[in-house]
């Protein structure tokens, strides 16, 4: 009897029931019909227990951090920085759009935030430079998918919580797939640039930019520290791979510091003043991903604490360095983040309740039997599941889809030998791309409202980019090393 909850749930969902209520009605009705009222109380309690979680708290905090950075004008600095780096290539502004998405992805965990933040600055700029509006909207939507793949990521926090995985491992596993999506999109832009004769942009540098003396000092210091850190990491890695002991720390650091200083002096001569200012203005905001990832990686703080540090850092930058925010802006930013995260938290609670009924019903066993009867080959099954996820992603947002499907599909694939973190990444990337697939893609709607172009038009223009993303999904699926190497090297998974 209970096995019927899944079809009932799907029917409710298809006719427009909000996911939150669907998750409760379907199992609730069946429990009631089969006389298991006591389990109904369990359903309620598990909504509460599902939301009462410390790891889950990273969700509202990362949302808040993203919102703060966006309102504080950090987005604009990242776009200018990307322009200074890639603006001169053929199809320059399209590349700038993608690079900005990659950088922004390190600050926020949401594709929608990415689309609305970058779209509102870049789509008009691209139009002015001779791109069609639908192309500009399509590339914005396609590249914003990188947001939740590169850490931090709201979707991965949800997956980790619902499935009991480590948030840190998922974050680290998302880095390379996210970069691959970005590079893939850039490759596609390059191909289209020849074919459709996309405009070449001059290296766009705003000449009238200024930087305050204090920020100048901080940025110079931070850039050098970052570079020393980079060299130190390389040094440790090389030493480890050669099997020799690392050199004593202090003298090595001194040498690295000297090398860094010489390198910066050399670079200084090769760059004009405006370029240097644009670079410097991006340094302070770009510390955010370093703080988040570094903090989690070295065990300085948990992902939840890292998210709070990100909030504090965003407030620090916007109030004291950029001076772009006032105290009276805070309530609306806080309200918006609370509003967005409350619906997700309720959904997670309902999903945890749903999950208890899922396990009571033996549905996973029945479903597993069915799936395994199709094929026993993991590769074939992964292919089929990718198709299923892609179709689901066309109709449902990534968060709810993960909440519903994770507990059902995850255990089946772990059983046939797929690494849990690998499966998490397949699912997250596939469903995140689903945010940009017609007919129901949240990101498409946002891109449409930002650009004023119709959803149908953007849907057509986005197809070549979606093709690239599908290729990346299959690469990730069949080469586990893409997602598993970084978490393995850092010891977060076996």
């Amino acid at each position: 009897m209970l096995i019927w909850f899944l079809p009932v749930f799907l029917v409710l969902l298809m006719i427009g029931m909000p996911v939150f209520f669907g998750l409760l009605v379907a199992p609730g009705v069946l429990l009631w019909l089969s006389g298991q009222e006591r389990d109904l109380a369990l359903l309620y309690r598990n909504i509460y227990n599902g939301m009462d979680s410390f790891p889950l708290m990273a969700l509202p905090f990362f949302m808040l951090a993203g919102e703060l950075m966006n309102r504080g004008g950090i987005t604009l600095r990242l776009v200018e920085f990307s322009q200074a780096i890639m603006g001169h290539l053929r199809g320059g502004l399209a590349h700038v759009n993608i690079l900005s998405s990659i950088l922004f992805a390190g600050l926020s965990g949401s594709a929608v935030a990415d689309t609305s933040a970058l779209g509102s600055t870049l789509i008009p700029a691209m139009e002015k430079n001779g791109y069609s509006r639908r192309f500009a909207a399509a590339i914005t939507a396609a590249s914003s998918v990188i947001g939740p793949i590169i850490p931090p990521s709201g979707i991965m926090i949800i997956y980790a919580y619902v499935m009991g995985e480590s948030v840190a491992a998922l974050f680290l596993a998302g880095i390379v797939p996210g970069l691959m999506v970005g590079l893939g999109l850039m490759g596609m832009v390059r191909l289209m640039a020849d074919r459709y004769d996309l405009p070449k942009a001059e290296r766009i540098i705003k000449v009238d930019q200024t930087i305050t003396p204090s920020e100048n000092l901080i940025a110079r210091g931070m850039a050098r520290i970052n570079f020393i850190g980079l060299l130190w990491g390389a040094h440790v890695l090389i030493a480890a791979s050669l099997g020799v002991a690392t050199a004593p720390a202090l003298p090595t650091l001194a040498v690295l510091a000297v090398v860094t200083e010489l390198f910066f002096r050399l670079m200084r001569r090769r760059m004009s003043e405006p370029v240097r200012i644009v670079y410097k203005r991006a340094i302070v905001p770009l510390q955010t991903p370093i703080i988040i990832l570094g903090g989690i990686l070295f065990g300085v703080f948990t992902p939840t604490e890292a998210s709070v540090i990100a909030v504090a850092y965003a407030i620090l930058i916007s109030f004291f360095i950029l001076r772009s925010m006032k105290l009276r802006d805070l309530p609306s930013i806080l309200t918006k983040s609370a509003l967005g995260s409350s619906t997700v938290l309720l959904l997670v609670g309902a999903a945890v309740a749903f999950k208890t009924v899922v396990s009571l019903s033996h549905a996973p066993e029945t479903l597993a039997e069915f799936i395994l009867s199709l094929s026993e080959n993991p590769y074939t099954l992964l292919f089929l599941i990718n198709i299923l996820l892609f179709i689901v992603g066309m109709f449902l947002d990534a968060g709810p889809a993960i909440i519903i499907l994770g507990p059902i599909l995850g255990p089946i694939f772990v059983d046939i030998g797929v690494h849990p973190v690998h499966f998490a990444i397949i699912m997250s990337v596939n469903l995140t791309v689903g945010l940009a697939t017609p007919p129901m893609g949240l990101v498409l709607f946002v891109a449409s409202s930002v650009s004023g172009e119709r959803v149908e038009t953007i849907s057509k223009a986005i197809l070549p980019f979606l093709a690239v993303e599908v290729v990346v999904i299959f690469l990730i699926t069949y080469i586990p090393a893409i997602s598993l190497t970084i978490p393995r090297l850092t010891g977060f998974i076996q």
């Binding site: 298809m14 909000p18 509460y48 509202p60 905090f61 808040l64 929608v112 709070v308 967005g340």
Partner: protein, 211 residues
Amino acid sequence: MIVLWGPLRLLMMINSLVLRVGRFLAWTALALMVIVILIQVIYRYIPTLDALPWPEEAARFLMLWMTGLIAPSAYRWGGFVAIDMVPRALPKSVAAVLMLVLLALAAVVLVVGIGFGLRHVTSGCSFNSPTLYVPFTLKLDWLSPCSTPIFEWGGFAWARVKLAWMYLSLLVGVCLLLAVNVELMLRSLILLLDPAADVPEDSAMIAAGAD
């Protein structure tokens, strides 16, 4: 029609007011969460200070109340995720009937939920929070069904917080959701009877998105 307009206007007024207060408390709770967790990190990393036991639970307490108080606003403004392809493809009158049926189902869930919620909160009276204390004992028993006396001042002394106070957040959320749900039902009933009706919108609306 007048039978529907009266209650709708009244309910909209009450909801607008109550939910505005809810949103205010919710954003305050989020701000406090940030501060509380920052305190936790600072206390752990300053060598002369000991790690604190309470920030984690306090932050969870605040998060639960934030959710309970602001989620109803999201529901009211259409922020609950749903697939609306079928309703949009249907003729208007059929879609309105379907909408009403779905809202009625949601109402049943919420009413049943309130029943379980009350029992859940009562059960929370027998448990103390592991780490949260307040510097006084004030029995607000007309709110939490923990013991018999109403509004009894217990004097200044550190007392553990009852878990019922945390459990209450979800119950309050469910009650507010029900109030919003009734408002939405009245709206769609009016639109069903008179498709040209000019049903007022809430002026404070903010688009809510999460992904």
